[in-house]
């Protein structure tokens, strides 16, 4: 077998690759379950089907999809322009921290302005956190991968400090947690008895917004060009730095809103383990979703499902919940491997005409 470059990238493989990756992940998952002495097919069913086999399960999926999708919406724009914002996690956590602090301040406030204030404060905090990375990148040329990762760790430690210190529930049992948020500061749920909140609508609305931006505006064109050819972008006079600021800040704001969807939604307080790695999982969502709005919607459902599946595997099979991370990692690995087939094809060696060149490597 030999790898040969295609004349043109295969559009078919662009869309087939995620499905192939999912298939390979399922096969590997079955093998893994077999290795662990569990019935493979039944375990896969527990992981991928059982969690969403009823209405409540589906609504729980929507609960997981909300923060994933919001983070992925911001990251999609960044990644399209090849700005590697790995900091959605930190922007999420900082958004939660500030949004949580504001929420606690507004515990006794009533009025239509309370919720918008909280959501905007979360967005502003996420924006500010991403803004640090934007400043470091544009002003000091500091690699955004490393700075955003460092900011993730800093944000997590800030949250830990806050829930151990200033924001700790004074009436609690000395647990590192904030007080429970007052009911009027929580995002309204869409249906009674289900946890999915209006934040889902915000996410879907923003999804449409970036769809329009990407396909119908000059900005979308600019960031596509910038991602594909930095020099061409500069030649065409696009303001690279402005775009970096804009994309990072937007992405941070989205992560901040994602945080509010969790803290003022299903969680209802600040706790040390607020984010279950949504910021990192959103990276996989963006790649799986091919940086396309519809794609990331589907991919965030899949990634959301890995969280539910992990919980289910823990309850049902006594497996560690961290199996979620294992599946997520496999998914991305397989996707990147399958993406080879977009620009290259596999040729069996007997057909080769250039075997001499091939044998050199």
């Amino acid at each position: 077998m030999r790898i040969e470059k295609r004349l043109h990238d295969s559009r078919l493989m662009v869309y087939l690759s995620p499905l192939l990756a999912l298939l390979l992940t399922l096969v590997s998952g079955a093998l893994l379950f077999a290795l662990l002495g569990r019935p493979p097919l039944a375990s896969l069913y527990t992981f991928f089907i059982a969690p969403i086999s009823d209405l409540y399960g589906l609504s729980e999926l929507a609960v997981k999809v909300t923060p994933l999708l919001l983070c992925a919406i911001g990251l999609t724009l960044c990644f399209k322009a090849k700005i590697w914002n790995i900091g959605a996690e930190g922007q999420f956590v900082f958004g939660a921290l500030i949004g949580g602090a504001v929420t606690l301040q507004l515990a006794d406030s009533e009025g239509f302005w309370v919720l918008p204030t909280i959501i905007l404060s979360g967005a502003a905090a996420g924006l500010a956190w991403a803004g640090i990375a934007a400043l470091l990148l544009t002003r000091f040329n500091a690699n955004e991968i490393l700075t955003t990762i460092m900011l993730n760790y800093i944000a997590v430690n800030l949250l830990l400090w806050a829930v151990h210190g200033p924001l700790k529930d004074p009436d609690g049992l000395n647990f590192p947690e904030s007080a429970l948020f007052a009911s009027q500061t929580l995002l309204p749920v869409l249906f009674e008895d289900y946890r999915v909140s209006i934040a889902l609508f915000i996410a879907l609305f923003m999804l449409i917004v970036i769809w329009v931006v990407l396909t119908r505006t000059l900005l979308g064109f600019q960031l596509r060009v910038m991602g594909e050819n930095q020099n061409a972008a500069r030649f065409a006079g696009f303001k690279g730095k402005t775009l970096v600021w804009l994309l990072l800040c937007f992405s941070g704001a989205m992560a901040g809103v994602a945080a509010i969807s969790e803290t003022n939604g299903p969680v209802g307080q600040l706790i040390p383990t607020l984010s279950l790695g949504y910021g990192y999982a959103a990276i996989i969502v963006v790649f799986m979703g091919r940086m396309h709005p519809l794609g990331i919607l589907l991919a965030s459902c899949l990634l959301g499902l890995t969280y539910l599946g992990g919980e289910m595997a823990q309850i049902d099979q006594g497996l560690p919940k961290s199996i979620t991370g294992l599946f997520q990692g496999m998914l991305l690995f397989y996707l990147l491997a399958c993406d080879l087939l977009i620009s290259y094809r596999l040729v069996s060696s007997s057909h080769t005409k250039t075997a001499t060149i091939d044998s050199a490597n």
Binding site: I3, E4, K5, W84, I86, L136, F140, N141, A142, N143, I145, L146, T147, I149, M150, L151, Y153, I154, N157, L158, L160, W161, H164, G165, G277, Y280, I283, I284, F287, P320, S322, I323, T324, G325, L326, F327, Q328, G329, M330, L332, F333, L336, A337, D339, L340, S343, Y344, T354, I357, D358, A360, N361
Partner: protein, 308 residues
Amino acid sequence: MDISLIENILFAMVRTGTPLLLVALGAMMSERSGVLNLGQEGMILVGAACGFIAAYAGGSLGLGVIAAVAAGVAVSLIFAFIALTLISNQVATGLALTIFGTGLSAFLGAAYVGQTVTGFAPLAIPLLSDIPLIGKALFAQDALVYLSFILFAAVFVVMRYTRLGLIIRAVGENPDVAHALGYKVLLVRYCAVMFGGGMAGLAGAYLSLAYTPMWSEGIAAGRGWIALALVVFASWRTERILLGAWLFGFASILHLLLQGYGYEISPNLLAMLPYVVTILVLVMMMYRQKNQGLFAPRSLGQPYHPLK
């Protein structure tokens, strides 16, 4: 400040800097060959988990170290296969390795949380460890710290004085020319990535068997990323990596010093220090160099396919 306090600070500095030194040496080697592996954090974690499990189950620290190194190499091979053979985006593949490694280590280690082993104990070298000031820091450490010294020396010699070092650098600077000269670019890169995997695995073993002899989820605490920054800080030069690792070690133990002087600062805020220092260092370096390309290997992160 009395002598024994300084001795203790230097001792802790070297101890804390050791995992960074190991990872950064491995990352530097792979970057010198032109491969940017952002999966260091994941490889450390898998190494730490496997090392701990092997040492716990097998009852031998040596076995733990071997298992950790083997595990690090094994997961680095997944990266190498996808990034090199399948010509994927190295940034994304490295991230995938970190996500995968974080998940795998948490999964494997879940049953071992809260268990302890008797970790590596300090082995004071007679006479040398009595040298004032630096004796304790350099010659009263545990076996893995000494091993890190040896590995540092080995990498230094290989990179500076040997043909092998020259080949690695040639492959990283200009793979086409290296290929034309008859060197197997992908083979060199595979080996460099595996070396990085082994070093990260060893660093993991150091964390879970010597530094804090236990397993806890996310025990690497960003060290893989700090080490990557360290390589930039060191301008891909071996001797500066040693300096940088110990400097970062010092930044990480500053809180001990502050506590020693009676300052009451939240441990969570102090825990932010190494990350803040990393950002500051990155800013400083980039600001000074303006053009990072002067120091980074020319083909860093570029996929290589001989038939392009």
